[in-house]
Structures are given as structure tokens and as C-alpha cells.
């Protein structure tokens, strides 16, 4: 579904990615793990059109997307759920969801409004908070809203950056359950996580990034057994 070859990203003189290869297959969860500054977020941002690509190629369903602007990439069926939720804090929960469906609201407003209801069924707390400003939600509620907002565009392929960040363990479990459900509904997911154990438990395939390079790849289970991964990312 997604093929990355020799991808390089640089911010001015700072090279974030030094030419990485990565494949994400339809119907699978692909995970990227690694420490802070390894280039995980840059990889996702390059795919969604937010990071400056200086070399290499990204193909989605056979089409080269490396030069397409972010808003147009969303229309191809890729949605990026950004690190740190990045909600529109001054706007209501409902408006955040509606804006998530912005790419198709001109064509079919009824479908967008139906999707708002569907997301509120997925996370009933969002229905209770419907008219509240998104900035007033708790961390867990914000993550739910961020995921729902991302799903409003009916993506085929989801990029998720650190969905567990700053959340209590129980909520992390709920988020993980939702990610698995999304996979079961046929979506491909590229997941970036600091919590390597959670990510490898979910992943069909996983990549370890270090200083802008892929160092280890394998299935989620293989990486979870890998002594190097165990030592560096799973706490022994």
C-alpha cells in the first residue's frame, strides 16, 4: 500500500532522516519504534506532506506522493493523527469533528454529519462533550477526539503519532483496543509509539529507527524477542 525508498528529510542544516526504506501493507498495522529524535515523527510528517523531503520517494497505491501538498494527500485517503492531539482548542468538539470531514463536506454534508454521529457512538463521552471547547477535555478525551477527527475523512491509511502519550494505563488499553478495531475494519495503520511494548503487541510488522536510519525490521513478535530491542526499548 505504501512504499518508502531512500527517504531523506532535512530541516535547514539538520538532517532528520538519512534515507530510509519502509513498507506498509494493506490491512496491517506497521509500527515504528525508537527513542526521541530518531526520526519517527519526521517519517510520518514526510508521508502526510508536512515535512520538507530532500530525497527519496514515497508511493501510495502506486502513485508518487512525495511532492503533493498536505491537504491534497488527505484527499487521497491518508490521514495523519498528529502527535500531542493538536486539536482546535477554541472550537467545539462537534466543530473539530466536522473539520475532520472538511475534505468531503462540499460534496456530501449528510455523510459528514452521519460520520459525526458514528464517532460519537464510538466514543460516547464525545457526545456528552459535544458543545464544549476541545481545549477543556481531559487528556484521554482529547486523544479520543483526535482519533475520531482523523477518522472523519474515511481514510484508507492512518498515520498515528504517539497516541498513548501522557495517558493513564487504562486509557492506553482502550486506545490500543480501538487501534485493533480499526485494523479489523480494514484500515492500514502506521503507528509511531514510544511505548514499544504496546506498539509491538499490536504490530504485524515493525521497524526500529535510530538517528534517522532503520536499524532492525521484522514482525512485531520477532522484534519483541530481539535481544537488542529488549535491551534498548523494552526495559531488559
Amino acid at each position: 500500500m505504501l512504499q518508502i525508498r531512500g527517504l531523506k528529510v532535512a530541516y535547514g542544516h539538520i538532517q532528520a532522516l538519512h534515507g530510509i526504506d519502509l513498507d506498509a501493507k494493506a490491512g496491517e498495522i506497521t509500527a515504528i519504534i525508537g527513542s526521541n529524535g530518531a526520526g519517527k515523527t519526521s517519517t510520518l510528517m514526510a508521508i502526510s506532506g508536512l515535512a520538507p523531503i530532500t530525497g527519496g520517494e514515497i508511493k501510495f497505491e502506486g502513485q508518487t506522493i512525495s511532492a503533493i501538498p498536505a491537504h491534497a494527500i488527505t484527499r487521497l485517503g491518508i490521514t495523519h493523527i498528529l502527535e500531542g492531539r493538536q486539536l482546535f482548542a477554541d472550537q467545539s468538539v462537534e466543530d473539530n469533528l466536522i473539520l475532520g470531514g472538511y475534505s468531503r463536506i462540499g460534496k456530501d454534508k449528510a455523510a459528514v454529519m452521519a460520520a459525526v454521529e458514528r464517532e460519537m457512538d464510538r466514543f460516547p463521552i464525545l457526545r456528552q462533550r459535544r458543545k464544549q471547547q476541545a481545549g477543556t477535555l481531559s487528556g484521554g478525551e482529547q486523544q479520543m477526539l483526535a482519533m475520531s477527527r482523523g477518522l472523519m475523512s474515511e481514510p484508507k491509511f492512518l498515520l498515528m503519532d504517539e497516541p498513548s502519550m501522557g495517558l493513564a494505563p487504562l486509557i492506553v488499553q482502550e486506545i490500543a483496543r480501538t487501534i485493533r478495531m480499526l485494523k479489523d475494519s480494514g484500515r492500514a495503520i502506521l503507528l509511531v509509539e514510544q511505548m514499544a511494548a504496546v506498539a509491538l503487541g499490536l504490530a504485524d510488522r515493525a521497524y526500529v529507527l535510530e538517528s534517522g536510519k532503520v536499524t532492525i525490521t521484522g514482525t512485531g513478535a520477532e522484534l519483541a524477542r530481539d535481544p537488542e530491542v529488549k535491551r534498548a526499548y523494552l526495559g531488559g
Binding site: 498536505a70 491537504h71 495523519h80 486539536l87 482546535f88 482548542a89 475532520g100 472538511y102 481545549g135 475523512s153
Partner: protein, 292 residues
């Protein structure tokens, strides 16, 4: 004396609502791009001159002349974004937009002088010059028209930003560019829209105020600065504060004008200096609480 004060209040609200109108233009470009068009006053002037040409010279009906002025300045706003904003914003941490928008304002002033001459030209009010008696004050109907039209437009802009999908998308860009982009919102197009809206608001202000102040190439400079004061004074990211700021500045200068018309602007700005010393972020500076 009482009649004077009452008259100053109406005039103050009238001129103040023009400041508020232009200042809303500063607001929309500031929230979407963190830049201001320091040529807003000249867009006001262009609105007045185009309105004058259409209404007086060509004899077009006033509502149509108003529409022409607003559309023309709106289109010039698109050009402004392309020429003076987008090229300099390629570098994130630049303040070159201050210079580039001032450059545009000087070019517009020069252009206006060569096109329309340097004289002050009378712009007859479509509502006539007959003075209305309200209480014992004499008021021009144009002044009332200005208040209704300018405040109505400010309300319409707020309604657009809060209620329409396009307006909500523009606010989303203002709040978080990256998040807006991954929702499928074309950020570049929203920025163009912001400059178009901002310039059209100034253009509308121009054709509204010209019957009161006359139309001429240098008419925009002082209102541009006062609208800037209204925007800062009100709190640049707070549309309600900006509205109050504009009306207050208009009221203050007209009321001080009753006492001493030579000192009215000096006293008004002295008042603003004192206020800023107590509230550096303005009257209603933004204080939002955001959970992380």
C-alpha cells in the same frame, strides 16, 4: 455644551466604527499568518477613490459603487498577499512583512496622487447633506449609515468565522496550521482569503467615510494608524476587544475634541499609553487555558 457632547458621541461612534472595521482586517490576517497589512489605510483610500470614480464620475448608483469598491479592494488584497506577504514569509522568523506592506502603502499613495491628484475631493453623501436633529444635536444621516453598515459588517464577519464551514476552516488554520492541513484544508487558500477579506473591509471603510472626511490620496494614513491602535488596544486576537477598542478611540478623540480640537489626538494617544502601561496585552488580551 450638552448638545456638543451628544454630537461628539454620535460622531465618535461613527468614526470609531470605521476604526473597528479596519481593525477587524488586522485581526483576520494576524490570526491566520501572524502578519498585519500596514497598508490597510491605503486600501481604505483606494476604496474611497474607486467609489468616488464610480459614483461621482461615472454616475453609477451608490450601492453598486459600494460593491465595486469592496470587490476591487478585495482583489487587490489577493495581489498584496502574492506580492508582499508570501515571498517574505518563506522564512518563518522574518519581520520583512512590516517593510513590504509599508512599501505597498507608499506605492499606492503615489499611484493615487498621480491618478486622482493631491486635492481633497468632495464625496457627496447618497443620503444628502441635510442635518438630522436628534435631541438638540445635528447629525448627518451618513454618520448613522456608517455606524449601521460598519457594525453590521463586523457582526457578519464574526458570524462567518464562527458559523460557516469556510470560516471555521479559517479559524482552524489560525489555531493550528499543520492540523488544519491534514484535515484537507488548503492553508494557502485560507491565507489568500484572509487578505482578501481584510482589504475589502478597509475598502468598505473608505467609501463609507469619504462623504464625512472628503476623498484624497492621503486620507488613509491616520485612520490606518488609529485602527492599528484599536487592534492593539483591544487585544489583537480578540474581535470583541477590537470592536470596543475602535469605538472607544473614536469616542475619546471626539469628546476630547469638544474641549480642545488641536489636542484631541494627542490626548487620545496619551490615554492609550497609560492604558497599555497597566494592561500590556490590551483591553481584552487573550488568556486561554489549554490542557496538554
Amino acid at each position: 455644551m450638552f448638545a456638543n457632547i451628544w454630537q461628539a458621541v454620535i460622531s465618535g461612534l461613527s468614526i470609531g466604527s470605521i476604526y473597528a472595521l479596519i481593525a477587524q482586517g488586522y485581526y483576520v490576517t494576524y490570526i491566520t499568518t501572524s502578519t498585519l497589512n500596514f497598508g490597510q489605510g491605503e486600501f481604505l483610500m483606494i476604496g474611497a477613490m474607486i467609489g468616488l470614480t464610480a459614483y461621482v464620475v461615472l454616475g453609477v448608483p451608490f450601492p453598486l459603487a459600494l460593491l465595486i469598491a469592496v470587490v476591487a479592494t478585495g482583489l487587490m488584497g489577493i495581489a498584496l498577499e502574492r506580492i508582499a506577504i508570501r515571498p517574505v514569509l518563506r522564512h518563518v522568523l522574518t519581520h520583512s512583512w512590516v517593510l513590504s506592506t509599508l512599501a505597498i502603502s507608499i506605492i499606492l499613495k503615489n499611484g493615487a496622487v498621480s491618478l486622482w491628484g493631491p486635492e481633497q475631493i468632495r464625496f457627496p453623501s447618497p443620503f444628502g447633506e441635510e442635518v438630522l436633529k436628534i435631541g438638540n444635536a445635528g447629525i448627518f444621516p451618513q454618520e448613522l449609515f456608517i455606524i449601521v453598515c460598519a457594525l453590521g459588517t463586523v457582526a457578519a464577519v464574526q458570524l462567518f468565522l464562527k458559523k460557516s464551514i469556510l470560516g471555521k476552516a479559517m479559524m482552524a488554520v489560525a489555531h493550528n496550521r499543520n492540523a488544519a492541513a491534514v484535515m484537507g484544508i488548503d492553508v494557502k487558500r485560507m491565507v489568500i482569503l484572509a487578505f482578501m477579506l481584510s482589504s475589502a473591509l478597509a475598502g468598505l471603510g473608505g467609501i463609507l467615510i469619504a462623504p464625512v472626511t472628503f476623498a484624497w490620496a492621503y486620507m488613509g494614513t491616520v485612520p490606518g494608524i488609529k485602527a492599528f491602535a484599536a487592534a492593539i488596544f483591544g487585544g489583537l486576537e480578540n474581535p470583541v476587544g477590537i470592536l470596543i477598542g475602535g469605538l472607544l478611540i473614536g469616542l475619546l478623540e471626539q469628546l476630547f475634541g469638544v474641549i480642545n480640537s488641536n489636542l484631541k489626538e494627542g490626548i487620545t494617544f496619551l490615554f492609550i499609553l497609560i492604558m497599555l502601561a497597566f494592561r500590556p496585552t490590551g483591553l481584552m488580551g487573550r488568556r486561554t487555558v489549554e490542557k496538554v
